[in-house]
C-alpha cells in the first residue's frame, strides 16, 4: 500500500511539535514520524522496484529453478522424474567435477595474480598525464574493443600449430621456443588460455589502476619525499595503501569473473585435449548441453554460484577488515 502513508500525513500535522528531550517526545515523535517513515519507505520501494523485479526474474527465479531442477532427472525431452538427492550424491563421487574444480581454482589463482600485477604495473606507469602515456593508454585499451569471440578466433589462428602466426615466426626467425603445441599440449594448455584471458581483461583493470593512481593526492608523495622516502618506499607506504579499495574491487571482479568464465575455454579448446582445460563452468555446460543431464548440470551450477558468492564475500570482508584495521592505526 504505497499511498497510505501520504493520505494519513495530513492528520498527524495537527499535533503540535514537542521539543526534543521532553518526556513525551518518544511517543509523539513516533506518532509523527511513523507515517512519514512509511511515506519514505513507499518511495524507497517504488525506487527499488524495477531493479528488484529484474533481479528477481533474471537472477533469483532462475537460481530457484536450478535448485529445483537439481532434484530431478531431465534430459530436455523426457518427463521430469524426481531424483531426490541422487544428483547431489553424484557430485561427491564425480572425479571429473573434482578435476574441473581444481582447474578452476588454479585458473582463478593464476589469473588473479597475473591480472593484478600486470594491470597495476601498466596502470601506475602510465598514470602521469604525458603524451606518451596517453598514447600507451589508448593502445592498452584496444583489446577491450574486441569481442571474446573475436579474441578467441584471433588467438586460435595465431597459435595454430602448422599454419599459425607463432609457427610462422618460429620458422622464419628460427625461434624454436615459439614452436610449441600451445593449445594441444595437456601440460600447458590451461596456462596458455589463462594468459589469453589476462590479455583480454588486463586493459580494463589497467584503466581502474590508472584512474585510482591519478586520484592519490600529490601532497602525500611530497610528504613522503620530505621524509626521505625512496621510490619503492613511496610505493609501499603511499601508493599501495591508497589503492587498497581499487585492489579490493578489482580482485573481486577478477576472482568472480574467472570462476565463472566460460567463453574463451569453450572457443579455444572446448575443454580439451581430453579434459585438460575443462574448467567447472565448461563441465556444467557439457553436462547440460552435450550430455543433456540438466539435473546434474544444475547441481554444478549451484556449486559454482555458492563458490562465487563465498569468494566475493571473503574478499570484501578481508578488504574491509584491513581498511578498518588501518583506520584504527594498525598496518
Amino acid at each position: 500500500m504505497p499511498m497510505s502513508g501520504i493520505v494519513h500525513s495530513g492528520t498527524t500535522l495537527r499535533t503540535p511539535p514537542t521539543p526534543p528531550g521532553s518526556p513525551r517526545a518518544g511517543t509523539v515523535g513516533a506518532q509523527r514520524a511513523g507515517p512519514r517513515r512509511r511515506a519514505r519507505l513507499a518511495g524507497d520501494v517504488a525506487g527499488v522496484a524495477p531493479a528488484a523485479l529484474l533481479y528477481t526474474f533474471l537472477l533469483v527465479a532462475p537460481a530457484a529453478v536450478a535448485l529445483l531442477l537439481s532434484f530431478f532427472s531431465w534430459n530436455g525431452v523426457s518427463a521430469f522424474r524426481w531424483a531426490g538427492l541422487a544428483n547431489w550424491d553424484r557430485l561427491f563421487h564425480d572425479g571429473g567435477a573434482a578435476h574441473s574444480l581444481l582447474l578452476t581454482i588454479v585458473v582463478t589463482a593464476v589469473s588473479w595474480f597475473l591480472q593484478t600485477v600486470l594491470s597495476m604495473a601498466a596502470g601506475l606507469t602510465t598514470a602521469r598525464p604525458t603524451k606518451v602515456n596517453s598514447a600507451l593508454s589508448a593502445l592498452y585499451v584496444l583489446p577491450l574493443l574486441i569481442s571474446t569471440a573475436g579474441i578467441g578466433l584471433i588467438w586460435e589462428s595465431l597459435l595454430a600449430p602448422s599454419l599459425g602466426g607463432m609457427a610462422f615466426l618460429a620458422g622464419t626467425f628460427h625461434l624454436g621456443i615459439l614452436n610449441k603445441d600451445w593449445l594441444g599440449d595437456p601440460s600447458i594448455v590451461l596456462y596458455v588460455i589463462t594468459v589469453i584471458v589476462a590479455w583480454q581483461f588486463v586493459p580494463f583493470y589497467t584503466l581502474l589502476y590508472r584512474t585510482a593512481r591519478q586520484q592519490v593526492p600529490r601532497t602525500l608523495y611530497e610528504a613522503a619525499a620530505i621524509d626521505g622516502a625512496t621510490g619503492f618506499q613511496a610505493f609501499r607506504h603511499v601508493t599501495l595503501p591508497q589503492l587498497r579499495n581499487t585492489i579490493a574491487s578489482s580482485s573481486v571482479l577478477v576472482v568472480i569473473g574467472t570462476l565463472t568464465y566460460f567463453d574463451m575455454f569453450f572457443l579455444l579448446t572446448d575443454g580439451g585435449p581430453g579434459t585438460s582445460s575443462r574448467v567447472l563452468s565448461l563441465d556444467m555446460y557439457n553436462e547440460a548441453f552435450s550430455s543433456t543431464d540438466f539435473g546434474y548440470a544444475s547441481v554444478l551450477t549451484i556449486v559454482l554460484v555458492l563458490i562465487g558468492i563465498s569468494a566475493g564475500a571473503v574478499l570484501l570482508k578481508v578488504a574491509r577488515f584491513s581498511a578498518s584495521a588501518r583506520a584504527h592505526g594498525g598496518e
Partner: protein
C-alpha cells in the same frame, strides 16, 4: 523439442538421441502412416534403417546423403615416393614410415573436437573385433568396453602418435578451420582419414587440387588377425526426418507419405548426386555415371551399398552423456595422457 512445441518433422541422425525421443513419446513410428505404401523401405539401401529402428519400429526416412569414412591421400606425394594405396595395416605403417622419412607429414588430423579421432577408433575396433563389439555397448553391455579390440585399437593409435605420424599440434586443430585439408593441398601431408564430406569441402578450399587430380582415396585398410570384414564401414549413416507425435494424425500421414515417395525418387536422388552426396536410395545406382564427380561418387556409394556392416558414428549412436565421456577419454588416448587400459576402465565406469 524441449519447449514442447515441436515442428512436424525434425532432422536427426538417429541413434542415442532418437532413443531419448522415443522414450519420451515425442516421435511416431512410420508403419501405420505408410500402410498404403507396402515395401516403401525397399527403395532405400539395406544399411538405411538400422539407426532409426527402435523396438522393431522404423522412425525415420533418410533425407540427406550418407557420410562414410574413407582415407584421402595426396597423389603427388604418393607418386613421388613410389607408393600405392595400402590394402593392409602393415603396408599402411610402412608407407607412413616412408612418407615421414621423406619429410612429409604422413597423417593430417584435426582432433580439437574429438570426432575426427573417433573415426580412427571406429574403423580400427571394427577391423579388429567386428561390428558386434560396439553394437553390444549401444545395447547396454558396458562390460564390452573391456573388449581387447579397444585396447588393441588404442595401442595402435598411440603407436601412430608416438611415431610422430600425425602433424604437430593435431590435438588443438579444429577440423572445421580447414587446417588439416590445407596441409594436404599445400603438399605437406600425405593422408587423412575423414568422412566423405572432405571432398566437397576441398572443392571450396582449393578446387584446383581436385581438378588436377591430386586428391586420391582408398578404403580403410584391413587389419591382419582382426575378425571384422574389410568392407565394413563407419560414419554418419544418414540424416533422417522424424515425425513428431504432437502433430495431428492427418498431417503425420501426409508428411510420411511425402517423405516415403519423394526421398527415394529418381529426381531427388539426382539432385543429391549433384552435390556429391551419397544418397541412400537404390535409384542412385543407375545414375552414378552422370554425376559431376563420377569416380568419387561411385566409390563412396559402393562403400555404403556393399558394406556388410555400417556403423553409425559412436558419438551419435551412444546416449549423449556417454558420447561426451567417450570423446574426452579418446582425446586423452590421442595425446598419450591416458593408457588404453585407462580408456577402457573409464568408459566402463561411465556406462
Amino acid at each position: 523439442m524441449a519447449g514442447n512445441q515441436p515442428p512436424t518433422m525434425i532432422v536427426s541422425s538417429g541413434g542415442g538421441t532418437l532413443k531419448q525421443y522415443v522414450q519420451a513419446g515425442k516421435v511416431e513410428p512410420l508403419e501405420t502412416a505408410l500402410s498404403a505404401y507396402p515395401g516403401w523401405q525397399s527403395k532405400f539401401l539395406a544399411a538405411s534403417f538400422g539407426d532409426v529402428t527402435v523396438n522393431g519400429k522404423i522412425y525415420g526416412i533418410p533425407v540427406l546423403g550418407s557420410q562414410p569414412a574413407l582415407m584421402f591421400y595426396s597423389k603427388p606425394i604418393f607418386s613421388k615416393l613410389h607408393l600405392s594405396p595400402p590394402a593392409t595395416w602393415d603396408q599402411f605403417l610402412a608407407d607412413c614410415a616412408t612418407i615421414k622419412k621423406a619429410g612429409y607429414i604422413p597423417l593430417a588430423l584435426g582432433n580439437a573436437q574429438g570426432w575426427p579421432g573417433l573415426i580412427w577408433e571406429e574403423m580400427l575396433v571394427d577391423r579388429l573385433g567386428g561390428p558386434s563389439v560396439m553394437d553390444s555397448i549401444v545395447n547396454g553391455q558396458s562390460a564390452q568396453w573391456d573388449n581387447p579390440a579397444f585396447t588393441e585399437a588404442n595401442t595402435m593409435i598411440q603407436q601412430l602418435v608416438k611415431d610422430g605420424y600425425f602433424q604437430p599440434g593435431y590435438s588443438a586443430v579444429d577440423y572445421s578451420n580447414g587446417e588439416p585439408n590445407a596441409l594436404m593441398y599445400t603438399n605437406k601431408a600425405a593422408m587423412q582419414l575423414q568422412l566423405n564430406f572432405l571432398y566437397s569441402q576441398m572443392q571450396t578450399q582449393d578446387a584446383s587440387y581436385i581438378s588436377q587430380g591430386h586428391l586420391g582415396w582408398f578404403a580403410f585398410p584391413s587389419v591382419p588377425g582382426g575378425t571384422g570384414n574389410v568392407n565394413d564401414e563407419a560414419g554418419n549413416v544418414g540424416q533422417y526426418a522424424l515425425i513428431t507425435s504432437q502433430t495431428p494424425a492427418s498431417v503425420r500421414k501426409m508428411a510420411a507419405e511425402f517423405l516415403a515417395t519423394m526421398m527415394p525418387s529418381a529426381s531427388y536422388t539426382k539432385a543429391m548426386l549433384g552435390f556429391d552426396e551419397v544418397p541412400l536410395t537404390t535409384a542412385a545406382g543407375a545414375q552414378l555415371a552422370n554425376t559431376p564427380d563420377t569416380s568419387f561418387t561411385k566409390f563412396t556409394y559402393n562403400l555404403v551399398a556393399k558394406a556388410p556392416a555400417y556403423q553409425l558414428s559412436w558419438d551419435a549412436a551412444l546416449p549423449p552423456s556417454d558420447a561426451t565421456t567417450l570423446l574426452a577419454n579418446l582425446e586423452n588416448v590421442f595425446v598419450l595422457k591416458g593408457s588404453p587400459q585407462q580408456f577402457s576402465s573409464a568408459m566402463r565406469a561411465a556406462g
